[in-house]
């Protein structure tokens, strides 16, 4: 038996915290307490106003497909078992956009909700048709 792998090996503590949230079924984003801007991905400062007063919030997990591609040629043999897989840019209802997995049958404009699924060695958000 091999040792369990860490959820993510990022050098960025903000990214480690974000993926730890995903492993528990949460999609986090930041809300600026100075200018109210919603921000994804998590940063040290608000990219709209420069404030360091950023609160962590959790998305309800619903949104709209902004764009989607279906990957048939993965970057490594380890991911071949998952191909073809959908990668989408999703506009969450809280006003931020993120990249995530998505059902390959989805189209731009479709309403979606987040689920969570294992991809390689980590759990990732995967969006499916809402309702």
């Amino acid at each position: 038996m091999s040792e369990p792998k860490p959820v993510v090996a990022s050098s960025d503590p903000l990214a480690r915290a974000w993926w730890a949230g995903v492993a528990e079924g949460r999609i986090g984003y930041q809300r600026c307490e100075a200018c109210a801007a919603a921000q994804f991905y998590p940063r040290e400062r608000c990219a709209a106003c420069g404030s360091a007063r950023l609160a962590i919030a959790t998305s309800v997990g619903t949104g709209t497909i902004f764009s989607i591609t279906v990957v048939h040629r993965p970057p490594s043999p380890a991911l071949q078992a998952f191909a073809p897989y959908g990668i989408a840019l999703v506009d969450l209802d809280e006003g931020v956009r993120l990249m995530a997995h998505a059902d390959p049958g989805l189209a731009i404009g479709d309403r979606v909700r987040a689920t969570f699924a294992l991809f390689g060695d980590r759990t990732t958000p995967k969006f499916v048709r809402a309702g």
Binding site: A15, V71, P84, I108, F119
Partner: protein, 377 residues
């Protein structure tokens, strides 16, 4: 004033036994000879990066290999825009009097120096390491997202994009140094295997070995009299998930700066050298900058406007899509071909009248834009 005094390149494609330094050395010697200069005349050296030779000081590695001792040297990184960016900086260096002759050189054995998986994984790192790469994203996936949205937004079709691949291949058949020289049809593009839908294999550029160089001087020193008349840049994001206005990715902003400096407009350009890592890249850049209408690239290609005899001759060397992509040298080749077209030295590929040219490089995923206006003197 700054001139592209000389240019040179190696064959692009699979060059067995080549290395980053051998490809750079061969291209550098060719460019210096074309400029009518000797090694000792080079007092500035700019280079890019190489994924097969990821050295932290590539410019002095290359200087030492060539046997030159420049008074100014460093490497630069702006992805696919690096080639045009190097020439933009070289121009500033010669115009300011810092240097007399700057060698801009790129080369990489990207095809033979690493496995296909290595290459795909290295390049995918242009994406966000924490918020994009973990999804199994690749460069074609980032551009697949661009393609899907752009097609949806403006009504571009897969057939429109396929036309661009066909035109680039037709051009490459006339260049002896091109990687892909076998003509293709729209049907073949549409039937090629899916990579990151809507993009298929023939919507994507190949991975090539190759080296290419140019010498920038204050006055012409060789046969070619090609002047840099204006240049500009724009950098609006790095990662595609952070791009805000998908109808204005930075290309038009960058081009506007170059046109303003040159005192010229889109309609003054008689030759186009526009980055084409994927068919969608080329369509978006041509349309955003305004050479054709939105969703008009396919119809322009079908009408022959991008050919040698057309009113907008485009990437007559074959572009990244068919001349080949060896990293920094991939986008640099567009500029080198523009210099040859402007100086009437493009042989079988020569367009009839090329007094002006527009050059555009795109790095990352529409992340870094560098535009340049060239003119024949």
């Amino acid at each position: 004033m700054a001139y592209i005094a000389g240019v040179g390149n190696t064959r692009y494609g699979v060059v067995e036994g080549s290395s980053t330094t051998s490809l750079m050395t061969d291209a550098a010697h060719a460019a210096i000879a074309d400029a009518g200069l000797a090694l000792r005349d080079i007092d500035g050296l700019l280079t890019g990066y190489s994924t097969t030779l990821p050295h932290i000081m590539l410019a002095t590695v290359v200087s030492e290999r060539l046997g030159i001792r420049p008074t100014y040297a460093h490497s630069m990184q702006a992805g696919g825009a690096t080639g045009v960016a190097m020439v933009m900086l070289a121009r500033l260096l010669v115009e300011s009097g810092q240097c007399r002759a700057v060698l801009c050189v790129a080369g990489e054995n990207r095809a033979t120096g690493q496995s296909r998986d290595q290459s795909i994984q290295t390049l995918a790192q242009a994406g966000h390491p924490d918020y994009e790469v973990p999804y199994g994203a690749t460069i074609p996936a980032y551009y697949g997202l661009l393609a899907a949205r752009y097609m949806h937004q403006f009504g571009v079709t897969g057939l429109d994009l396929a036309e661009l691949a066909v035109v680039m291949r037709a051009h490459a058949t006339r260049h002896p140094d091109a990687h892909q020289r076998q003509p293709i049809t729209v049907e073949q593009v549409m039937a090629s295997k899916p990579i990151a839908l809507p993009l298929r294999l023939l919507d994507c550029c190949p991975v090539s070995d190759g080296g290419i160089a140019a010498v920038i001087t204050r006055e012409p020193t060789g046969e070619a009299k090609v002047r840099i008349r204006g240049a500009g840049q724009a950098h609006l994001h790095q990662h595609i998930s952070q791009a805000r206005d998908w109808a204005a990715m930075g290309a038009s902003e960058s081009a506007a700066r170059a046109f303003a400096e040159a005192g010229m407009a889109v309609t003054d350009m008689r030759y186009l050298a526009v980055y084409d890592s994927f068919t969608i890249t080329l369509a978006m850049l041509l349309e955003e900058i305004g050479f054709v209408r939105r969703a008009g690239s396919g119809e322009a290609a079908r009408a022959g406007r991008f050919g040698r005899e057309g009113d907008l001759p485009l990437n007559l060397h074959g572009g990244l899509l068919s001349f080949g992509h060896c990293g920094v040298g991939g986008g640099f080749a567009h500029l080198v071909e523009a210099q040859r077209q402007l100086s009437g030295r493009a042989g079988d590929r020569q367009a009839s009248n090329v007094p002006t040219a527009f050059v555009h490089g795109d790095g990352g995923v529409m992340s870094s834009h560098v535009s340049m206006i060239l003119e024949r003197v």
